[in-house]
Amino acid sequence: MSDLSAQRGTSRRRLLTWPLSLDPRAAAADHWIRIHRRAMACRFEITLSGEDAADVPAARAALDEADRLEEALSVFRDTSHLTAINRTAADAPVAIDAELFALLDTCRRLHDDTGGAFDITSTPLSRCWGFLHREGRLPPLDAIDSARALVGMTHVALDAGAQAVRFAKPGVELNMGSIGKGYAVQRMCDLLARRGAPHALVSAAGSSIAALGGRGRGWEIDLHSRQRAGTPLARVFLRNGALATSGAGEQFIEVDGRRYGHVLDPRTGWPASGVLSATAIAGDAATADALATAFLVGGVDLARAYCASHPETLAVVFPDDGSPRARIFGSFRDAIVEDA
């Protein structure tokens, strides 16, 4: 057997430090706990750091909140409040509860503030282009014009006194597709905070995210585009705020060699173009959700203008012009954006 003392001396010096984590059973902090359930045709998920395992029951209660809101907001459920509005609001005012009224009021404000780029009445356009049921097609031009005539919040009257909604004409429809998930995520985040959870990341479909707390620099979130699989576009550290991402993604139609994404510009009736991915960071997830869609539709100009007039809003827009750089506008107190 050879004399190992020389080697030992080296290794002992090298190893004189002792790991701070004296009890590796505390390694709970080294893993994520993800509690998820399917709702609104996507995955709703709460991410907890391992040491917050005691908040799992609160996370499950938050998922129940997602189920409740799906009942209320989905146009795909015959029993939802929204379905009832769409069925009868052209005939007479429909009284609604305070929660839904407040949400519709928020939608109208966001519609106005984004110059109509965010619009919950664009269903006739989606139907016309076939995106409602994932059967995209290039419609006849007159069909687009007819659909456009039914789109716009000007056709939706909100009566605060009676807490009621009425449509100006038949054919108008409300659809929470571009804000509903963010709204639900925010309500879930609020519930977790009320239940005393210090840190949690709530998400829906990977696109609508609300951050409660956040250790260190904050919750680390990579921004991706489905059109550029693999490397993230950017990295965000977020504390006590919300983030939403929108993109043309995988749903598109191709006509005569030209691609049309599934996100429509309600102002023109045509698919949005020019932006690969748009991310909005704001104080609440419903707003972030609506703005992400609006910035995808309205592009760099809208993002710049909106962030200039609205504090605590940050936009990260990747133009679809082959340039690898993000265009960043505005700021948010607890968000850091870095190149990935």
């Binding site: 984590s21 009890d23 994520w32 993800r34 479909a205 979130i221 990579d222």
Partner: protein, 442 residues
């Protein structure tokens, strides 16, 4: 196992992910949290028994926690393979011994990791404790109850640590399940658990003696076959109950915070007539409060594989393959609620999640969870809890931090399995009384 529609959905998803070359669940990171220096140093370790299990522990010994000084095995081939493990991990070689007493005399060791055949656990462990060493001994604790008690007394007498190696006790998936599901009351009233460890194979190992004239008879093995396949011989082994059920019963004792009061069941040598231990085992333990736990291990069908399932009035928790946890809520509400799933994934230096345009249906929230940059598979996940186990033991030696499975817990779970062995042997229901009393919790 009858699959509910929800479980089938999980199974389908796992299948699709497997087809896509992605693990169903990204498992635990390999790294034990080892950050920043404090005073002290790695524990000076010797290994006794470096066969398959011993080498797993050797391979997972983090040099920041344990410094491997010496290796002991009666089979020189195993020592040579252990050298390769150390070399692969870029660690200095360790001195070799075939006699553990000689190793204790000649080496300046603080602690010993023991992974010898079950029947030898007690003699080697007691010898090491009497020599003033701390001991991490592989599970199950010992071949019979008096041996377990002898080990426990030796630890108490010598004021040395004795940890029995149940790696699940160090596994963050189980820790999360206990804290976040069991203790949080998410299962409601819990009366029932089912344990399964099903395989389709003989459990026999094929190996060559280290040299043509190799004679292990002085160590109690008439032939090399007796040494190499010791698990199949009753005088060395307690078969499936000791090697497999003890892992799972240890979890049930932890989650139920109790030990069983009685056990019954059936065992048979049905398929492989070459052995003295059963190749098919079914056992039912009765816990206080009317709680029942069943265990089955068959060597003729692998469909069910390995799981521990806990059935409560509000939900079902399934721990599968040491790396996955699933939670299903009980139905009964007016609406058809989708199942809630809980997954545990390593942080591994990656982001908490990946944001992108909306993903449909069951798409996971991060590339880690989707397997994009995750550890390769269940193997790596399982191994990481061995690493935590060895590191945890070393931490306890250095700092006095509590053990995950000290002699009292280990004796109690071994007792449950040894009494099951007795019940199956005698084809009768055997009562179990706690030999320690209720005050001790180590």
């Amino acid at each position: 196992m009858n699959l509910t529609p929800e479980q089938q959905a999980v199974g389908r998803r796992n299948f699709l992910k497997a087809v896509a070359g992605l693990p169903a669940l990204a498992g635990l990171g390999v790294a034990a949290a080892a950050k920043g220096p404090v005073r002290g140093g790695p524990v000076r370790l010797g290994f006794i028994g470096v066969g398959g299990e011993g080498r797993v522990l050797l391979n997972q010994t983090d040099p920041a926690f344990g410094e491997v000084r010496a290796l002991c095995d009666i089979n020189p081939s195993q020592l040579a393979k252990s050298d390769d493990v150390l070399k692969k991990n870029k660690l200095p070689p360790a001195r070799h011994y075939s006699e553990w007493r000689e190793m204790l005399e000649k080496e300046d060791l603080e602690a010993v990791v023991i992974a010898v055949p079950l029947w030898a656990h007690a003699d080697v462990t007691v010898g090491c404790l009497d020599a003033g060493k701390h001991v991490l001994c592989e599970k199950m604790m010992a071949w019979d109850v008096p041996s377990c008690e002898r080990m426990r007394q030796a630890a108490l007498r010598n004021k040395r640590l004795l940890e029995i190696g149940y790696q699940r006790a160090y596994n963050p998936v189980y820790q999360s399940a206990f804290t976040g599901v069991i203790k949080a009351g998410a299962l409601g009233d819990l009366f029932s658990a089912r344990l399964a460890w099903h395989r389709n194979g003989s459990w026999r190992r094929n190996g060559e003696p280290p040299s043509p004239g190799y004679d292990p008879s002085k160590w109690g093995y008439p032939t090399f076959e007796h040494l190499y396949n010791w698990r199949l011989y009753k005088r060395y082994s307690r078969g499936l109950l000791a090697e497999l059920a003890s892992h799972q019963i240890n979890i049930v004792n932890w989650f139920f915070e109790a030990i069983p009061e009685a056990v019954s069941g059936a065992g048979s040598i049905a398929r492989y007539k070459d052995r003295e231990v059963w190749d098919h085992v079914h056992a039912t333990w009765e816990y206080p409060g009317g709680r029942h736990v069943t265990f089955s291990s068959v060597e003729s069908n692998a469909f069910d594989r390995t799981y521990e399932a806990f059935y409560g009035t509000k939900g079902t928790l399934i721990m599968r393959g040491e790396s996955e946890a699933y939670l299903f809520e009980e139905g009964g509400g007016s609406r058809s609620q989708a199942p809630t799933n809980i997954e545990v994934t390593p942080k591994a230096g990656g982001p908490a999640m990946d944001a992108s345009e909306s993903r449909i249906a069951d798409a996971a929230s991060s590339s880690q969870a989707r397997g994009g940059n995750a550890a390769p598979g269940a193997g790596a996940e399982r191994l990481s809890s061995y690493k935590l186990e060895v590191s945890g033991f070393c931490s306890s030696v250095r700092t006095g931090a509590p053990l995950a499975c000290g002699p009292d817990k280990a004796l109690r779970s071994a007792l449950a399995c040894l009494k099951a062995d007795e019940a199956l042997d005698q084809k009768t229901r055997v009562l179990i009384t706690d030999p320690i009393g209720t005050s001790s919790t180590t």
